[in-house]
């Protein structure tokens, strides 16, 4: 018969179709298994013998390559280089392995900490991985230190930052004040209000962009080319970059909302005087939305970087700062708007605007003070820090400025404004000068803030590290990481039994891992200092984030106690 039913030609037992296909498969599998059994029998994992640069080392010059030796020939699967922000850097060439030596050529490295994470396969095709953390440069870890940068760079950076803060406050505040819809004599918005918002927003955007380059140059150190490509890249990757991007976004939204003409709306309202005298309801809502969102984005951008981003407890610190900035913005922006209005508008409309501001200021001023108090309480722990630390001294100067501002505000509210309201025309002039003085004082406060934002607060100066307690069945460990910042860290471990007596483990090893970054864990061995106490000095932790420290303590021949602690690294 034919091959239809798969029977063979002899007419004997028909062979089913599937069986015909299965037999060659089994033959191939059997042959493959046989082949494997006579393969080289070194069925062990590859073991790393030595690495240059060694894990945890701090080098004076950038190494040209990383060389890792294994005890048997290996094939590289993955080799990744990370920098101090956790971002991947490209290697200078493909990694190669010869005779069990893995070599990865490195690109030129700027000073700072780095992590090389690798995975290789050994002969039995089992993957083996690990990480090396090392740092280039000595004290120049990636934190801006005002002393290091050149004077010109520092001055430029501070000036740009002060301008940025000032413009941010005016833009956001004027937008917020415009939202309260103070009306000019002609029925439209206050003159100059729109231009003020748009102009200030433009300055915000420009200073934000310039600030990225200057911040990057500061982070790289004195040797960096200011405003070179590397500076921009580093600046963009830092938290300052994120903040600047949000600020530019907010500025754009504000500019569009403020300056966009609602245009030829020859609609049901009929032709009316100025193009935006009576914009349609939807246009007005759109504009209000834009102004509000833009203002909030600008205020939010302040929270994304600097001390605001890292101060704990965040649930208290961030709202306190947000309240403070919002109130300060409202104050600054409204005053700027009022000054312009008082110049151009007749007394009646100007008075109405000032009254409106004055009423709202009764909310804004306490909010400003409350936010400032909460923030100071967190950053300046003890009153003595106020005169002992640089941060405290700057804060004192700012408090003095605020006091002067409050005096002026109270005089305005209680003396001059009522007098103007009752018809004393000279009061208008006096009020205008007082508002100008307040704006000048606010400018001083902004300059002080720019310096404050770059000064480390007293709590960071103390050797604050991270202390964590890890528990498991049969053991408790207290892990102290000092200073819990990017760069060299000292790790101390106190190991105890649940009843508190020291646990003298036969061997202790530490694995430091950052799961979000998908790297191979760093494996380190601390030294035993005394029963239950172990120490590891100087190991480099290359970038910030939440790192997990896994402690493996061998207690006895057959038992390993595993303890885990989460360490945040700034």
């Amino acid at each position: 018969m034919g091959a239809r039913d798969g029977s063979d030609d002899t007419g004997l037992l028909p062979v089913a179709r599937g069986q015909r296909k299965l037999t060659p498969c089994l033959v191939i599998a059997a042959t493959a298994m046989l082949a494997c059994s006579v393969a080289p029998s070194a069925w062990a994992h590859a073991v790393m013998l030595a690495a240059t640069p060694a894990d945890g080392s701090v080098l004076e010059a950038a190494p040209p390559a990383v060389v890792i030796e294994f005890n048997e020939p290996v094939t590289p699967i993955m080799v990744e280089l990370r920098d101090a922000s956790g971002a991947r850097l490209a290697l200078a060439g493909a990694p190669e392995a010869r005779d069990g030596v893995l070599r990865a050529a490195l690109p030129p490295l700027a000073p700072g900490p780095y992590l090389l994470s690798y995975r290789v396969t050994s002969l039995d095709s089992h993957p083996v991985g690990g990480s090396l953390a090392f740092a280039v440069g000595t004290e120049r870890m990636l934190r801006p230190r005002p002393g290091d940068a050149s004077f010109a760079l520092t001055a430029a950076r501070r000036a740009v930052r002060a301008l940025h803060y000032g413009a941010l406050l005016v833009a956001a505040g004027a937008a917020l004040f415009a939202l309260t819809a103070p009306r000019a004599a002609g029925g439209g918005p206050l003159p100059g209000s729109r231009t003020l918002i748009g102009g200030a927003a433009a300055v915000v955007a420009l200073t934000a962009v310039a600030g990225i380059g200057l911040q990057g140059a500061t982070l790289l150190g004195p040797d960096a080319i200011v405003l070179g490509a590397e500076s921009w890249r580093v600046g963009l990757r830092s938290t300052f970059g994120a903040s600047a991007v949000v600020a530019v976004g907010g500025a754009i939204v504000l500019t569009v909302a403020a300056l966009a003409r609602t245009g030829c709306r020859a609609d049901a309202d009929g032709p009316s005087g100025t193009p935006d005298a009576a914009p349609g309801g939807r246009a007005r809502t759109g504009r209000s939305l834009g102004l509000g969102l833009g203002a909030l984005a600008l205020v939010g951008s302040v929270l994304l970087t600097g001390h605001a981003a890292v101060t704990a407890p965040r649930l208290v610190a961030q709202p306190a700062l947000a309240l403070h900035v919002l109130a300060a913005a409202f104050w600054a922006g409204s005053l700027a708007t009022l000054i312009l209005a008082m110049r151009a508008e007749p007394a009646g409309a100007a008075l109405a605007a000032v009254e409106r501001f004055s009423r709202l200021a009764t909310l804004a001023v306490p909010a400003l003070v409350a936010g400032a108090l909460a923030w100071s309480a967190i950053e300046i722990r003890e009153p003595s820090n106020l005169w002992r630390s640089p941060y405290g001294q700057l804060a004192l100067a700012k408090i003095a400025t605020l006091a002067a501002l409050l005096v002026l505000a109270v005089l305005n509210r209680l003396c001059w404004l009522p007098a103007w309201r009752h018809g004393d025309a000279r009061m208008g002039c006096r009020l205008r000068r007082s508002i100008a003085a307040e704006l000048a004082l606010l400018g001083c406060a902004v300059l002080l803030t720019a310096s404050l934002s770059e000064t480390p607060p007293p709590q960071a100066e103390a050797a604050a590290g991270a202390v964590r307690i890890a528990r498991s069945e049969g053991a408790v460990a207290q892990v102290t990481v000092t200073p819990a910042r990017v760069g060299p860290n000292a790790i101390e471990i106190a190991l105890a039994k649940p009843d508190g007596t020291p646990l003298d483990a036969a061997a202790v090893s530490i694995e430091i891992d950052n799961e979000a970054a998908h790297i191979e864990p760093l494996v380190r061995r601390p030294e035993r200092v005394s029963p239950g106490r172990y120490q590891l000095a100087g190991g480099v932790i290359p970038f910030p984030g939440r790192w997990t420290l896994t402690l493996r303590a061998r207690v006895g021949d057959f038992d390993v106690v595993t303890l885990r602690a989460e360490i945040p690294i700034r």
């Binding site: 060659p24 498969c25 494997c36 029998s41 039995d124 095709s125 864990p521 057959f558």
Partner: protein, 174 residues
Amino acid sequence: MTTALRALARVLACLALLGPASAGAHVTLDPVPARADAYYKAVLRVPHGCNGSSTRRIRVRIPEGVTSVKPQPKPGWVVEVGRAKLARPLDDGHGGKITEVVAEVSWSGGRLPDDQFDEFAMMLKLPDAPGSTLYFPVVQDCEQGVHRWIEVPDASRSGRELKEPAPALLILPK
């Protein structure tokens, strides 16, 4: 052309059946799994030494619940058994009480080169605990160095493989 492709596909499928060879590098128990409350011949397979060095001694700790342990003698190796008293005597099923169990078994004195493989066997009575996993931590002493196959997965494991896992035995229902 298509016949050749089909043949290639079959070959690849067959090779895929072979699975990863990774476990071949660890000390493992064979066979797994086993039935509860039964006698079980536990075979420890030692596929290599310590980074090229020959194995001189194998020590295994018997987990709780295993009440009868009889190691298999090996020519060239000396078998030793360490006992421990039970805190609470157990019923031995024949009307008596078990007060002492074997806690540790060791084979020493021999020499297993790194490029050879050997098996060390014991006869065990498994507990009546279906669904549980028993861990048999093994310390492999070599001429130079030690391998401790003593890691046990814990609940919070992030999913990474253990580097030196203890041989594990899953117990199935009777």
